[in-house]
C-alpha cells in the first residue's frame, strides 16, 4: 500500500518544542485531517513533510523508502507536494509564471518557452478550482484568497501522490471552498493521499476519513472520523471539556442613535459600485459575499488605503470625499486587514513592537520610550487574547499563524477605536480562540464601538452581525436584518445572477 509514514519526528525552535515524537501515516486515497489549536505544531509538521524545515530527529518514509529530508525539490519529485498556510508566490509575476517557475515548458529545443501551452494549462487548473482569475495580472495585486488559489494551482500541476493543504479554506468563501472540496474528492478517487489542516471543523467532518490531533506538539491520537463528533474532537484538541457555545446575540441597538458612519453612493471603478450603508454605535454590520465581491476593497477605501472615485463618507462630523489612513486613524477608525503577513505585521519585529506599532508615539516621554507602560500594555494584550508566545520580545514570525492573527487584532484593541473594520478577523484562528475573538468583538460592540465585520464564514457572520450586507460583483445586494438572514439567503444573494452584472 502506498503511504507516507512519519517516524518519531521532533523539532524544536530554541526553547519551544514545536513537535515531539510524531508518528502518523497518510494512506493513498484517503483524506487525513490534522487538527489542533493554534501553535499545536501542524504547520511545523507540514514544513517538515514538504522539506522546508528539517526535523531534529525522526524519519519520513514514502512507499517504505526513506524520503530525503529538508529538500523541497527532491520531495516534490517523489510526488509529495504541499500548499502552505501563507501563500508562497512571486508577487511581481503573473499566475502563469508563478505556476511554472522552475519547470517551464520549453519548445524548439529549449530556446523558447511555450507560453501558449503554459497559459492554457494554468487556465485549466484555475478553472477546476472554480475561479476565473486573470492570468496576466501580477499575483501581488490579487486578493489574498486569489493568491491562495494560485498557490494551490501551483501544487496541483504536479502529478502529486500526496497533497498537503495547510488551511486552504481560511480565506475562501463558501463557493470557492465547495469547488476545492470537489477537487479534493476527485483527487482522492484517483488515489491521491491528502493531508488536510483546517480550523473549520465542519469541513473536517465533511471531508476527512481519519483525523490526527496534535496538542502542544505531541500527537494525541488518530481516529476514524466516524468515531468522533464535534465535541469529542474539540476535547482531544484542547485537552479538556470546552463549551464552545455559539456566540450569544448582543442586544439590538436602538435605532434612535446617530450613526457613527454613513457611506453614500461610494464607487471605485472595477472594485465596487454605489455602496451605501450606515453603522450605529454598538452595531455590528456584517459583510458577506464571495471572494472578489469587493468587500476588502470597500474596507480599504473606508480606512483610507485606496481612494474612491465618487460618493462620500460621513464620519466624525465631516463629509469625506477622500481620506488618508492617518485621517481615518485620527478619527478613531481601525482596520484588521485581510493579509496578516503582508499588511498586518512586521514579521521580524517583536510581538510587543507589533502590538504597539500604531500607538508607539504615545509612549514617548521625556527620557525616551516608556518601556514600563509599553511592556505592561503588551503583556495585558498577550494575556487578554491568549497569544501563545515564549515572551513578547520574540519576533512575530516565530508565532504560529493563528497567534499572529491575534496580534493583528490586538494592535488596535488598545487604541479604543470608534469604528473597527475587521477583514476576516478569525482567519486561521482555532475554535477556542475564535469564540474568544467573538467575545471580544461583542464586548467592543457592547461598549459602543461600531463594527464592520467581513467574513467568509457564514456561521460567524450570521451569529455576530446585527445586520448583514451582501455583496456580489461590487454591488450591494441588499442589507438583511439578523432575523431575515439565513445561510441560504446569503449564499443565493452572493451568487452572480445571469443578468450580467458588470461594472
Amino acid at each position: 500500500m502506498e503511504r507516507l509514514k512519519t517516524n518519531a519526528l521532533s523539532k524544536s525552535y530554541g526553547g519551544t518544542h514545536a513537535l515531539k515524537d510524531i508518528s502518523m501515516d497518510i494512506i493513498a486515497g484517503e483524506v487525513h485531517a490534522l487538527c489542533g489549536e493554534n501553535g499545536a505544531g501542524k504547520s511545523t509538521l507540514i514544513k517538515i513533510l514538504s522539506g522546508v524545515e528539517r526535523p531534529d530527529t525522526g524519519k519520513v518514509h514514502w512507499r517504505d523508502a526513506p524520503l530525503p529530508l529538508g529538500k523541497v525539490d527532491a520531495i516534490e519529485a517523489h510526488g509529495v507536494v504541499a500548499v502552505h498556510q501563507e501563500p508562497v508566490i512571486f508577487p511581481h509575476l503573473n499566475a502563469v509564471d508563478n505556476l511554472f517557475v522552475g519547470r517551464e515548458h520549453a519548445m524548439a529545443c529549449g530556446i523558447w518557452l511555450n507560453q501558449a501551452s503554459m497559459r492554457k494549462q494554468t487556465q485549466n487548473i484555475l478553472a477546476t478550482l472554480g475561479e476565473a482569475l486573470s492570468v496576466t495580472e501580477p499575483v501581488g495585486e490579487m486578493s489574498l484568497a486569489q493568491r491562495q488559489m494560485v498557490s494551490m494551482a501551483r501544487a496541483l500541476i504536479h502529478q502529486c501522490r500526496i497533497l498537503i493543504l495547510d488551511e486552504p479554506t481560511a480565506s475562501l468563501s463558501a463557493r470557492e471552498s465547495a469547488s476545492l472540496f470537489g477537487r479534493i474528492n476527485v483527487l482522492k478517487e484517483q488515489g491521491v493521499g491528502i493531508l488536510y489542516v483546517s480550523h473549520r471543523l465542519e469541513e473536517v467532518f465533511k471531508l476527512a476519513d481519519r483525523v490526527t490531533v496534535l496538542r502542544d506538539g505531541a500527537s494525541v491520537g488518530t481516529w476514524a472520523i466516524k468515531d468522533l463528533n464535534r465535541d469529542t474532537l474539540i476535547k482531544h484538541m484542547v485537552g479538556r471539556e470546552v463549551p464552545v457555545a455559539p456566540p450569544t446575540s448582543s442586544p439590538n441597538v436602538k435605532p434612535t442613535k446617530q450613526p457613527v458612519i454613513e457611506v453614500s453612493a461610494l464607487c471605485r471603478k472595477g472594485a465596487f459600485n454605489d455602496i451605501s450603508f450606515h453603522i450605529q454605535p454598538g452595531e455590528i454590520l456584517g459583510m458577506s459575499g464571495l471572494v472578489g465581491a469587493g468587500r476588502s476593497e470597500i474596507a480599504r477605501a473606508l480606512f483610507g488605503v485606496d481612494r474612491f472615485d465618487s460618493g462620500n463618507i460621513l464620519y466624525g462630523g465631516r463629509t469625506w470625499t477622500s481620506l488618508t489612513i492617518q485621517d481615518a486613524i485620527a478619527h478613531g477608525i481601525a482596520m484588521v486587514p485581510e493579509d496578516r503577513q503582508l499588511q498586518g505585521l512586521v514579521l521580524p519585529l517583536s510581538v510587543e513592537t507589533n502590538l504597539l506599532l500604531p500607538s508607539l508615539a504615545n509612549h514617548e516621554c521625556f527620557r525616551g520610550l516608556d518601556q514600563g507602560t509599553m511592556r505592561s500594555t503588551a503583556g495585558d494584550l498577550v494575556t487578554q487574547l491568549g497569544i501563545k508566545t515564549e515572551s513578547p520580545s520574540k519576533p512575530a514570525e516565530s508565532l504560529s499563524g493563528g497567534n499572529q492573527q491575534k496580534i493583528v487584532i490586538g494592535k488596535w484593541l488598545h487604541t479604543h477605536p470608534t469604528l473597527l473594520i475587521l477583514d476576516e478577523p478569525t482567519r486561521g484562528v482555532d475554535v477556542g480562540a475564535k469564540s474568544e475573538v467573538h467575545r471580544i468583538i461583542q464586548a467592543l460592540a457592547a461598549k459602543g464601538t461600531a463594527i464592520l465585520l467581513i467574513s467568509s464564514e457564514l456561521p460567524e457572520i450570521l451569529s455576530l452581525s446585527d445586520r448583514i450586507m451582501v455583496l456580489c460583483g461590487g454591488c450591494n445586494q441588499g442589507i438583511l436584518s439578523r432575523q431575515e438572514a439565513t445561510q441560504e439567503i446569503l449564499l443565493r444573494r452572493s451568487l452572480p445572477t445571469d443578468s450580467g452584472r458588470d461594472i
Partner: protein, 317 residues
C-alpha cells in the same frame, strides 16, 4: 540573563568592535607611532565628511532605500558655495544657501521616491548624474579658492583638542542616536525597512518619513561639502566624487543590511572606524593604492560573511 548575554555576544556590533580592537592591536605591533593620539587626530581629518554622511545613509538604508546622489549633492553644494562667495556674497550666507541647496536636492529625491514611486536606486542614480552635471555646468570646471582663514578653521581647526568637524559629527550622532533609540521614530524606521505596507497600515506616515530622511541626507551632504571646502580651501565640481561608494561601504561593513530593517548607527560608526583605520594604515605604512583597494575589498567580504554567519547563529542558538 544568560540569554541576554548570549544575545549581546552574537550581535554584529560585538564582532565589529572586536575586529576594530584587534586591528588597533595589530597596527600597534607593526607601527606603534601610528596609534598615537596626535597622529590619529591628524589622520581623522580625512574621514569626517564620510562619517557625517554615513549617519543619514544609515537611516536611508535601514528603510530599505539607498542614496547614490550624496557625492553629487556635495559637489553641487560646494560649487554653490564657491560661486556665491566669488560673486561677493558674505560667506555665512553662502554656506546657508549651500545647505538649502542640499536640502532641496534631497527633497527632490524624496519627492520622486514617495510621490512618483520611483525606486530609490534608480532615481538617485539619475539625480547623481544630474546634480553633478549641473555642478560642472555652472562652474565650468573652474575651482574657486581664496576663502578667509577663519573659514578654514571649520575644516582644519580644533576645539577642546578635537577637530571641529569631529564635534559636528558627534553632535549629529548623539541627536540621531536619541531619535533612533528613545523616540518612536527609530522603531518606525526599522518597521518601514522590514515591511512598509504593514507600517503604513499601522497609521505611520511612511511617505512623510521617507521624504524627511532623504531631505536630511541631502542637507547633511551639503554640510559635509562645506566642511570639505573649508578643509581644502577650494570649491571644485569634482568634490565628493565617489563619496557615495565610500559611505555605502562603511555602512554595509557596519552591519546594516542593504535590504533594510537590520543594523544600527553604532555598527555604522564601527564600520567607518574600520575602513578609515585600514585605509590610513595601509597608506601610512606601505603607501600603495592597490593594497588599499585590496584591503577594502577583503574587509567588506569578511564583514558581510561573518555577519551572515552570526545572523544564522543567532537564529538557531
Amino acid at each position: 540573563m544568560k540569554q541576554r548575554i548570549h544575545h549581546i555576544l552574537w550581535q554584529p556590533e560585538t564582532f565589529l568592535a572586536l575586529l576594530v580592537a584587534s586591528l588597533f592591536g595589530l597596527m600597534g605591533q607593526l607601527d606603534p607611532a601610528f596609534i598615537q593620539w596626535h597622529v590619529q587626530r591628524e589622520l581623522s581629518t580625512h574621514a569626517w565628511e564620510l562619517a557625517i554622511i554615513a549617519i543619514p545613509m544609515t537611516l536611508v538604508i535601514l528603510t530599505g532605500g539607498i542614496d547614490l546622489s550624496v557625492g553629487a549633492i556635495m559637489s553641487l553644494t560646494a560649487i554653490t558655495l564657491g560661486m556665491l562667495f566669488q560673486s561677493g556674497c558674505p560667506l555665512p550666507l553662502a554656506c546657508l544657501a549651500a545647505l538649502l541647496a542640499g536640502i532641496l536636492c534631497g527633497a527632490l529625491n524624496g519627492w520622486f521616491i514617495t510621490r512618483m514611486q520611483v525606486h530609490p536606486l534608480i532615481i538617485t542614480l539619475a539625480t547623481m548624474a544630474a546634480y553633478r552635471g549641473v555642478a560642472e555646468g555652472i562652474s565650468r570646471a573652474r575651482p574657486v579658492s581664496g576663502f578667509p582663514s577663519s573659514f578654514a578653521w571649520l575644516g582644519q581647526g580644533l576645539w577642546l583638542g578635537i577637530p571641529v568637524a569631529g564635534w559636528l559629527f558627534l553632535g549629529l550622532l548623539v541627536v540621531m542616536l536619541w531619535m533612533m533609540h528613545a523616540r518612536s521614530f527609530g522603531t518606525h524606521v526599522y518597521a518601514i525597512g522590514l515591511n512598509s505596507t504593514a507600517t503604513r497600515f499601522s497609521g505611520i506616515r511612511v511617505d512623510r518619513m521617507l521624504l524627511a530622511i532623504y531631505t536630511f541626507s541631502g542637507g547633511v551632504s551639503a554640510l559635509a561639502a562645506i566642511l570639505l571646502v573649508a578643509r581644502r580651501n577650494t570649491a571644485k565640481a569634482d568634490m565628493g566624487m565617489g563619496m557615495e561608494l565610500g559611505v555605502i561601504t562603511a555602512v554595509v561593513i557596519g552591519g546594516v543590511s542593504i535590504f533594510g530593517g537590520r543594523g544600527s548607527l553604532l555598527g555604522t560608526c564601527l564600520g567607518i572606524l574600520l575602513i578609515h583605520e585600514t585605509r590610513e594604515f595601509v597608506s601610512w605604512h606601505w603607501n600603495r593604492d592597490e593594497l588599499n583597494l585590496l584591503a577594502l575589498g577583503a574587509l567588506l567580504i569578511l564583514s558581510v560573511v561573518f555577519q551572515k554567519l552570526l545572523r544564522h547563529k543567532r537564529a538557531t542558538p
